[in-house]
């Protein structure tokens, strides 16, 4: 079993590393796939593992984009002047300014989103079930509307970031690896995190929060920290997206509630809630489905997407991994065990 896992990881890592070189024309799609994987895994932290279905995680994606933009531009120019000029003025960035801005912007985006999650979480974690979902959705929509009316960051026009200084194809590979490394770091982190007592405690909150309270678990503290970590990674992903897209505007790209905001939920449901691999499997399947329908069934793509959501929610709630767990429980260690048959962990 352990050996199989090593092989699995080696294969996945090799594919991840080679993909942009083997399929150079799909560079952007592959980067987007990693983005999907990241937002799906972070959504599952609260939605699958903790039982808090947030529809507002896209808020951190949009906020991450803007924070990264403001930091990287603000380090060199006045942000108000920059956005006022709307690309008309001459605003040059040296390579060093670009990369310093990129690194600090992306990290700053993550940290800012973490702090925001603590504040929003403190207010919204009193809500349960669908109320939490709607409450957080409200936050995301409000965030988009507020930013689109804020002229300092470009208002409804959006904002344009400095362009990657190297050539275009090199840039695609660069952003692919930024996403991929973030995704891998997130995966390693979650693999460890879900095995800790902390991870068990958030599962307890999902299964019966009242019982968890009665057992003396610090429920609010754990909920806040979990969401703050999720928000960090979504913010980082948003920051990377900002630099990758170069230009973005608030409602359709940054706070894209009905696109990525819903896609991340569908990915998790499709792959299997509350599992480590579910969101990844779901994100891959969903992304394939989406690219195929967008390319070959143009005009019907939203219908196909809606059908996928309905089928998943109605007939396939446990997702791919949940279905496997149901069909092959012994693969997941569910069995009666006699004392004599030894210790299995």
């Amino acid at each position: 079993m352990a050996k199989n896992k090593v092989i699995l990881y080696a294969v996945v890592l090799t594919i991840s590393f080679l993909a942009p070189f083997v399929f150079p024309t799909f560079g952007t799609q592959l980067a987007t796939l990693w983005l999907m994987i990241i937002v799906a895994m972070t959504w599952d932290m609260t939605g699958g593992q903790m039982g808090y279905n947030s529809l507002g995680n896209i808020f951190f994606y949009g906020t991450g984009m803007y924070v990264a933009a403001v930091i990287s531009i603000g380090m060199v120019y006045n942000v108000g002047d920059y956005t006022n000029a709307a690309g008309g003025g001459i605003f040059e960035f040296t390579d060093q300014q670009y990369f310093t801005g990129l690194v600090l912007g992306i990290i700053g985006a993550g940290l800012f989103c973490s702090i925001t999650a603590l504040i929003i979480g403190y207010i919204t974690f009193g809500l349960r079930g669908p109320y939490f979902a709607i409450g957080t959705l409200g936050v995301a929509i409000a965030g988009g509307e507020l930013v689109s009316n804020w002229d300092w960051v470009g208002g409804g026009q959006g904002i344009a970031l400095p362009v990657y200084p190297g050539d275009l194809d090199e840039g695609k590979v660069f952003f692919y690896f930024l996403f991929a490394v973030t995704g891998i770091v997130l995966f390693i982190f979650l693999k460890w995190f879900y095995r800790t007592r902390f991870g068990a405690a958030i599962n307890a909150i999902r299964d019966d929060e009242e019982k968890a309270d009665a057992m003396g678990i610090h429920t609010l503290r754990y909920k806040l920290i979990t969401w703050a970590i999720a928000a960090f990674f979504v913010g980082v992903a948003g920051g990377i997206s900002g630099f990758q897209l170069i230009h973005f505007e608030p409602l359709e790209t940054a706070y894209q509630t009905i696109n990525l905001g819903i896609f991340m939920v569908v990915c998790v449901l499709l792959g299997g809630k509350g599992t480590l691999w579910g969101p990844i499997v779901g994100a891959i399947l969903f992304h394939l489905f989406k690219e195929v329908t967008w390319n070959y069934f143009l005009g019907w793509q939203w219908v196909a997407l809606g059908a996928l959501i309905i089928v998943t929610v109605v007939y396939f709630q446990d997702g791919v991994l949940g279905w496997l767990m149901h069909k092959r429980p012994e693969w997941f260690g569910i069995r009666v065990e006699n004392k004599s048959s030894g210790d299995a962990r």
Partner: protein, 247 residues
């Protein structure tokens, strides 16, 4: 013996229904105290008041000398005062061992401790307690698939895992096979004597409570009807009347 729980003059009504009226009870540290009474006499309401599920209308509740009647559930639980539920509550999607490990006392953990994985000792402790309640063989099964009685035993083991100072048990023998009840009485006694946990038990099964408790309180219609040793309670005419419905 010192007093671990002191309930003084507690009243609680739901709208017009008076569930508890001027109830005063003390639980001695290190002992087993019983709480009996006919259905609807306010026993569970009193438990819920003690552990902070709802605010009380009047009176005071002290745990180890500190007023707790205004504290929320989590804070009271973190003081080491724990309860089990009449309608058993376990984490049904997880197996028994996972249920046990979640019950590790988080109040004794710093955030850094919480970010550690469970140690071999934790697993051994969980296995030991599961064996103590007789669920060792089923420990890797989904706990939601266990029978009601087994879930009850699991909940009891989880409570022990949490290392409480005082444990409030709401009908521990309800739904448990009569032949297993003797075993359960023995385990409750051992939890009290070996682990040093003060027990405060609601029980309908007279044989169980009379065998186990040192002091018994009897509630009827929300008021304290009688208190005393099992012998005194058994021979108290007002208790007999309350159960048989005489007035």
């Amino acid at each position: 013996m010192s007093r671990i729980i002191e309930v003084e003059g507690v009243s609680k009504s739901y709208g017009g229904v008076v569930a508890n009226k001027d109830v005063s009870i003390t639980v001695e540290r290190g002992g087993i105290t019983g709480l009996i009474g006919p259905n609807g006499s306010g026993k569970t309401t009193l438990f819920n008041s003690i552990v902070g599920y709802h605010p009380i209308d009047q009176g005071s509740i002290k745990f180890e000398g500190n007023e707790i009647s205004k504290l929320p559930v989590q804070k009271i639980a973190r003081l080491g005062l724990l309860r089990t539920f009449q309608q058993t509550r376990i984490y049904g999607a997880m197996n028994c061992v996972e249920n046990m490990l979640i019950s590790l006392p988080h109040r004794k953990m710093s955030l850094l401790d919480a970010l550690k994985t469970n140690t071999k000792e934790d697993y051994d402790h969980a296995d030991h307690l599961l064996e103590f309640v007789g669920l060792y063989e089923k420990r890797l099964l989904k706990s939601g698939d266990l029978s009601f009685g087994q879930q009850k035993l699991l909940e009891f083991a989880m409570a022990l895992m949490n290392e409480p100072t005082c444990l409030l048990l709401d009908e521990p023998t309800a739904g448990i096979n009569p032949t297993l009840i003797n075993g359960l009485i023995d385990r409750l006694r051992r939890a009290n004597s070996e682990f040093g946990i003060t027990l405060f038990v609601i029980e309908h099964n007279m044989r169980v409570i009379m065998n186990m408790a040192e002091t018994i309180y009897c509630l009827a219609h929300g008021e304290l009807l009688a208190q005393g040793t099992p012998d005194q309670i058994q021979n108290d005419q007002s208790v007999i009347d309350a159960y048989l419905g005489a007035h």
